[in-house]
Symmetry: C2
Subunit: 159 residues, 2 copies
DNA sequence: CCCTGAGTGCAACATTATTGCGTTTTGTTG
DNA sequence: CAACAAAACGCAATAATGTTGCACTCAGGG
């Protein structure tokens, strides 16, 4: 399974900038960044695709040079998701760094079934429509999930 | 956790009509309805909320009077979802009978965090927008997932 | 009758996630 | 700084969810 991206996420500049922005965003809200949390952020930013919790654990175990237990991973991921600097891909039981931590927005994920990579897009119109629909039926929305699974452009060409 | 619905799904007429419609839809496509599949459909239609796979297993074990193994449940659920007569709520690892098996449409689920019930709505505009977004980035959509979690109207009043 | 394919049963196992509790770290307050 | 409280973390155990591989049954078609 190749990684047919023009600008891979493993580009170090993008990673370090993304992590830095996320760290700032979290600190601005008065929450703390611990070594574990920062390492997790970095691992997610460096990953070529959404990572499962146990996959993240393995990577952290390696970079931190010590065992990291499942509950720690889940707590860390919960924290990062609450802070809006990471997101859970429900259809995959996986987690990605969120590219837009700055504002509370709806993330739309396009998840490729072939290469496993996910792409995040934004669409304010979609966000608006969803809000309207919820309001119409008197539903108080707390969390919105929009995911598409299918084939990304490079994988379509490859098949 | 009460079930504050005006017309509970356990209303026998609605259940049997829903099941009947689903069975017809499946048969029209040349797929077979087996006793297990029909029992699962009935259980999902009768349920007051989305059921986990193992919850469904327990209910089937009771109604069928025999043990039903996990793989059978998952196979049955996969089948029903592929046929469009059931759907998986990703944010809950749960399954619901789909109220609109007649056409291939986008299901939007509103899942209440308090009572656990889910409501399915349709919005062709949403469907259209999502399609546009995917097309714009060259993504070939196979499955669309739109879920909101929050509080349903009755549970808002109750709190 | 034999063959085939779909559906099912079953044991074992894999993956994902949580609970409870004790310890460490961090931030706050006197 | 000392004492305390809250947050974060480690760890063992366990729960919940989902899968694999293989054998068996059963219906339909040669």
């Amino acid at each position: 399974m190749s990684r047919p991206k023009a600008a891979p996420k493993s580009c170090n500049r993008a990673v370090s900038e993304g992590v830095k922005a996320a760290v700032s965003a979290v600190r601005l809200r008065g929450a703390q960044i611990t070594p574990l949390r920062e390492a997790a952020l970095k691992a997610l930013w460096s990953a070529e695709r959404p990572l499962g919790a146990y996959e993240l654990r393995d990577r952290l175990t390696e970079t931190l040079g010590r065992a990291v237990a499942a509950p720690s991973i889940y707590r860390t991921l919960d924290f990062l998701c609450e802070q809006g600097v990471a997101a859970r891909i429900e259809s995959r039981n996986a987690y990605v760094a969120c590219a837009h931590p700055e504002n509370d927005h709806l993330c739309v994920f396009l998840v490729c079934e072939a290469c496993g990579d996910s792409r995040e897009i934004e669409d304010p119109r979609l966000e608006k429509l969803i809000g309207e629909d919820a309001r119409r039926v008197g539903f108080a929305v707390r969390r919105r999930i929009v995911e598409m699974s299918g084939l990304c452009a490079p994988c379509q060409r490859a098949s």
